[in-house]
Symmetry: none
Subunit: 182 residues, 2 copies
DNA sequence: ACAGAGTGTTCAGGATTTACAACAAGCCGT
DNA sequence: ACGGCTTGTTGTAAATCCTGAACACTCTGT
């Protein structure tokens, strides 16, 4: 996480000098210089002030990244899926786990009693899924639902959520999450 | 942009006390307190250290929506899915079709002879899917594959692609595409 | 009621960051 | 070569942030 290089790249992309950006942002040029050289770690408020001169939000600033992947495999046999299981819940990722993929497409199996945990999951993005076998309990934003086979769900991942299988049969779920965060 | 309230919400969602989070993050509890009360604007390095104790990235931190509005439907019965069929291929969208959703999660049925068309599909994003019934032919980048039940796929949508069912049984597919373009 | 362990807040002092100003180096037109 | 402009990089003093140690409060078990 190189804040300095990141800022310098963006500034030059915008064709601004340190002084020009400083003037627009309402800070001094030395501040910009020291931030770019990583000789200081700016406070949120001052970094926000600096980005205001571009203009750019903090989210944008931290999410700037350009990567290239050379993933060529397209079709995966059932036994080729990558196992990223966490505890009792079996999760098999479809496609290679390169870090900057946008979709996490998973085949999940919840044996009886399986649970994603008492502290709710919270992250950015959206997720959707369909239950193809068994029954499964889903809690979103304090609301608890029971999914029957064939039912599906869709919600924003920023809402606290949790999956649990309190039933006697295993549940099989196909789900997609974006962005892929694991 | 209330950094303090944001941190407090996330911390409480994770069920952590100020001291507990401070310990995990390697800072003092007073730091957490003052950040949450907005009596200081933390430096990037210390905020990053604090988030490391959750753990959570800066991007997530600034992009998480901590609102608790929840009048949106989460669970959909099998017959509630929105039909967006195109030609012979039946496509049922999971979740309401609001314009700015990130994921298109679909339950698709390809009857024998069904085809997405001779001119290849090309668009932004990524897509993945799993075949849960029947057999299906998939062509990506000139390469043609035959998916058996249980097989799955994952590729970038910018590569020309096409789905076709030349077999005698209908094929059922669950797929996800991002961004949602339909 | 009390001790003990938990919670979040506050304050002085040391550490870090910022502003202001001076500095050296590069470029252009005369 | 020489100003006159720009660029980015330092010092030093002032402002801000972080730590460590208190403080007041709630809860639980004795």
């Amino acid at each position: 996480m190189d804040v300095g290089a990141r800022l310098q790249n963006i500034r030059k992309l915008k064709g601004l000098s340190q002084r020009e950006l400083a003037k627009r942002a309402g800070v001094t040029n030395s501040t910009i210089s020291m931030i770019e050289k990583n000789s200081v770690s700016p406070s949120i408020s001052s970094l926000k002030k600096v980005l205001g001169g571009i203009p750019m939000s903090l989210v944008e600033f931290f999410s700037i990244d350009v990567e290239q992947d050379s993933d060529t495999q397209v079709v995966y046999k059932a036994d080729e899926l990558i196992d990223i299981s966490d505890g009792a819940v079996s999760m098999r990722l479809i496609g290679k786990a390169h870090p900057d993929r946008a979709i996490a497409f998973l085949a999940e199996t919840y044996p009886p009693g399986a649970d994603t945990g008492t502290d709710m999951l919270v992250h950015e993005g959206e997720e959707a899924g369909m239950l193809i076998e068994g029954r499964l309990e889903l809690t979103v934003n304090g609301q608890t639902y029971v999914l029957e086979t064939g039912d599906s769900y869709y919600f924003e991942s920023s809402k606290p959520h949790r999956f649990r299988n309190p039933f006697e049969r295993p549940a099989r779920l196909i789900s997609a999450t974006t962005p892929a965060n694991f």
